[in-house]
Symmetry: C2
């Protein structure tokens, strides 16, 4: 009784904030995955009751939105004017992809409007870079969305597909394909179940194709004559 008062405040650091909740949510998601994130468990990790969270946050979806935006802060925004727009965009997009893979749970959450400050800052960089490069309207939107969609799709595909994690499942899938190789000859032969490492190369190739397409449609600074260097 006499020793207990304000014991929490002294040891447990700040009295619980939206930031602390977000931070711990990301940690929990990283550690246990998306489906194991519970308001109760999150509260437990924070040393509080589950109901307390609802004072700082309206719903569980808010927590997910916050967590999703939080990890985007890890995507480093390239310093402009360095190596040219291709290098800048490649750097941004690669960093983005790396974050998606570092937090595999995020891939499943991409299906929600991303309007957090960190997400918007990265989108701003992407748009600004394209605009400065001379990409104009029909192609501007196509380029921005094309790149984003490509990254999102790649991240979703790779983060979801258990290449390293659940090896038994991958093996079962391979066996299934091989067992039905009459029905799926091309798949069984050149199987889509790539081994680790090939993901990166495939991503780089696809990204290059998109950048080539964008480059071919630059209006103003046609430094290269329309095609590629």
């Amino acid at each position: 009784m006499w020793l207990r008062p304000s014991a929490r405040r002294e040891r447990d650091a700040p009295p619980l904030s939206r930031d602390r909740i977000t931070e711990e949510a990301v940690a929990l998601l990283d550690a246990e995955g998306a489906d194991r994130l519970t308001m109760r468990r999150l509260a437990e990790r924070l040393g509080t009751g589950s109901t307390t969270l609802y004072w700082h946050v309206k719903t569980k979806d808010d927590v997910l939105d916050l967590a999703l935006d939080k990890i985007f802060a890890e995507v480093e925004i390239p310093r402009k004017g360095g190596q040219g727009w291709r290098a800048d965009i490649t750097a941004l997009v690669s960093g983005w992809r790396a974050v998606l893979l570092r937090h595999p749970w995020s891939a499943a959450l991409l299906g929600r409007p991303m309007l957090g400050p960190n997400v918007l800052a990265r989108s701003e960089f992407l748009y600004a870079t394209l605009v400065e490069t001379g990409v104009v309207e029909p192609h501007l939107t196509a380029a921005a969305y094309g790149l984003s969609n490509f990254v999102i799709g790649s991240g979703l595909m790779q983060a979801t597909w258990p290449d390293n994690a659940k090896q038994p499942m991958l093996r079962d899938a391979r066996e299934h394909l091989h067992a039905n190789r009459e029905r799926y000859p091309a798949l069984a032969a050149h199987g889509p179940l790539v081994a680790d490492g090939n993901w990166d190369a495939g991503f780089a190739l696809g990204l290059g194709w998109l950048l080539d397409g964008i480059q071919a449609n630059i209006a103003s600074t046609d430094e290269e004559g329309g095609a590629r260097a």
Copy 2:
């Protein structure tokens, strides 16, 4: 008592099968969305008890997997040899995208291994077409995954983003961007919040870029010399 026996069997059609469950699950998902799919509600629509479903299906995830594969059957597999590989792949991929948009709930489910027969059949066509065209290995995987990822990303983005459905949210987002136009000048100016219709054009452009990139790397029929145009 005397009139009741076998009343169900006579009227309710087949005694409940995995197919009927899948079919009704798709209908329920189409009608009410992903989060409203409940084993109980699904059972109710089928005129049975919720527990009965578990005789035909192991978990709810099974239902989702089945539903996801089911809608892929709607993607028409082009008749080969018609207009050339670009037309074939464009047709497949466009149909795929159309299905994703026709069943918006599917976008959120793409984050699970897709190994159903319908999905595999479409992947088989994609791989086979690329192989026959002469796309070889480093580019083969990149092409197949690049196209898939692009479609998935586009579908996820568009199906999720409430362009038509939740108009208030879209308006709020626009206002938010405009209010912070100092922080996000490019976004506010050339806003990424496209109006309906532009989605299709953007998708077609991006797809064309990917196809161009693939075409430039075809080995056998090197109609273009190897590097680029």
